[in-house]
């Protein structure tokens, strides 16, 4: 049924994963028990969504119950922004995770067991379904993260063997206990990990002279990527600058035109953003800037001609 659901929800934001109940990885199975509570008997299969906010066990109308759980969770707005990047480092999968807390709660391990997780799975049928979890590293969020604040971590799997690296994927997420020290966990948001890269947005800026702000600002470039990167900017034109000239990723650079150095007519320049960080990460992206400046020279000439005394 889960494989069937994975096909049915292929175009939705749902990740179906399978774990071995006898060899728990990370804190995943603990989350199911926290969601279940205690008492009674439980039977396989155990399933959960959103770190145990919704759980089920034993024989049920699988299709109806599982789809109901997924549909209910899809309707809930996320409570965090999550960015995740993953890279193979030797036989380890490394996940770079950054979370912005959008919930009203301050996240901390001490207050509400807040934890960042990564799961690495292989598209391969080992037990029942075709998405088998291979590792689930985690770290507790020790320093409190207030609403609006960010948290970043690097999570490593143990050395992985006997896996097809071409079929491995990773996701990252953060969960916490809304009730405090006890009760079910809830997942704030999750993200599929993508290969590390530096992103710039926009990739081109085009303005006319009439649109130039008083301070020469023509736009802002947002830089994204793994949080372990630092970036610097270089310009190929005297009239084009980026400020600040460097910083941490993610970040923003204001692009400015130096009016005094801007030639008349159409000028095109290029800003090169370079970023590097641990694990040999190094990227370069360019932003092109085009300014159609008023022909100040001809305006001056016209003024001079008007001022010239007549015969």
């Amino acid at each position: 049924v889960v494989d069937q659901l994975a096909v049915e929800y292929a175009d939705r934001l749902v990740l179906f994963l399978e774990d071995n109940v006898d060899t728990p990885l990370g804190r995943r199975r603990d989350r199911w028990w926290a969601g279940y509570g205690s008492g009674g008997s439980v039977y396989l299969p155990l399933v959960m969504a959103s770190s145990g906010r919704r759980v089920s066990s034993g024989s049920v109308d699988f299709r109806t119950v599982y789809a109901g759980i997924v549909d209910g969770e899809l309707l809930r707005p996320p409570q965090a922004e999550v960015e995740a990047f993953s890279a193979r480092i030797g036989n380890v999968m490394r996940v770079y995770l950054r979370v912005v807390n959008l919930s009203p709660a301050t996240l901390s391990a001490a207050a509400n067991a807040a934890t960042a997780h990564a799961v690495v799975w292989e598209d391969r049928k080992v037990h029942v379904t075709s998405r088998t979890v291979r590792a689930a590293p985690f770290c507790e969020i020790s320093a409190p993260v207030a609403p609006g604040e960010a948290f970043a971590a690097v999570l490593d799997t143990p050395a992985l063997s006997g896996v097809d690296w071409g079929r491995l994927h990773a996701a990252a997420f953060v969960d916490y206990r809304p009730a405090g020290a006890t009760g079910a966990f809830d997942m704030l948001q999750a993200a599929l990990a993508v290969p590390p890269a530096l992103s710039v947005s926009p990739e081109s800026i085009s303005v006319t002279g009439a649109e130039l702000a008083a301070d020469g600002a023509v736009g802002a470039v947002a830089l994204g990527g793994p949080h372990v990167l630092t970036w610097s900017a270089a310009s190929d034109a005297l009239w084009l600058t980026a400020s600040p000239g460097g910083g941490a990723v993610p970040g923003t650079a204001t692009v400015r035109v130096v009016r005094e150095a801007l030639p008349s007519g159409v000028s095109e320049g290029r800003l090169t953003f370079s970023a590097s960080g641990q694990d040999g990460l190094a990227f370069t992206r360019e932003v092109s800037v085009k300014v159609d400046a008023p022909d100040t020279g001809s305006r001056v000439r016209r003024r001079l001609l008007r001022r010239a005394p007549g015969p």
């Binding site: 889960v2 659901l5 939705r12 934001l13 749902v14 990740l15 179906f16 994963l17 399978e18 774990d19 071995n20 109940v21 006898d22 995943r28 199975r29 199911w32 396989l44 299969p45 155990l46 399933v47 959960m48 969504a49 959103s50 770190s51 599982y66 759980i69 997924v70 969770e73 899809l74 809930r76 707005p77 996320p78 965090a80 922004e81 959008l102 799961v119 080992v126 037990h127 029942v128 379904t129 979890v133 996701a171 997420f173 997942m187 948001q189 999750a190 993200a191 599929l192 926009p202 303005v207 649109e211 702000a213 023509v218 736009g219």
Partner: protein, 57 residues
């Protein structure tokens, strides 16, 4: 054409284009000075993680 009317025209044009493309209008912001930017102020939808714990057979 004043800058205000030009900006209004840009907003309307962008909104119509956005509808045509099926984009969420909340993601669209038209800055002053005639610069149009796409904002990602609205977080993306929730990615639901559904986990099954089973025993190898």
């Amino acid at each position: 054409v004043t800058r205000t009317s030009l900006t209004l025209w840009l907003i309307v044009t962008a909104a119509v284009a956005s509808l045509a493309l099926g984009e969420d209008l909340r993601d669209l912001a038209v800055a002053s000075e005639g610069r149009t930017v796409w904002k990602s102020s609205v977080p993306p939808p929730r990615l639901v993680v559904f986990e099954e714990f089973s025993r190898p057979t």
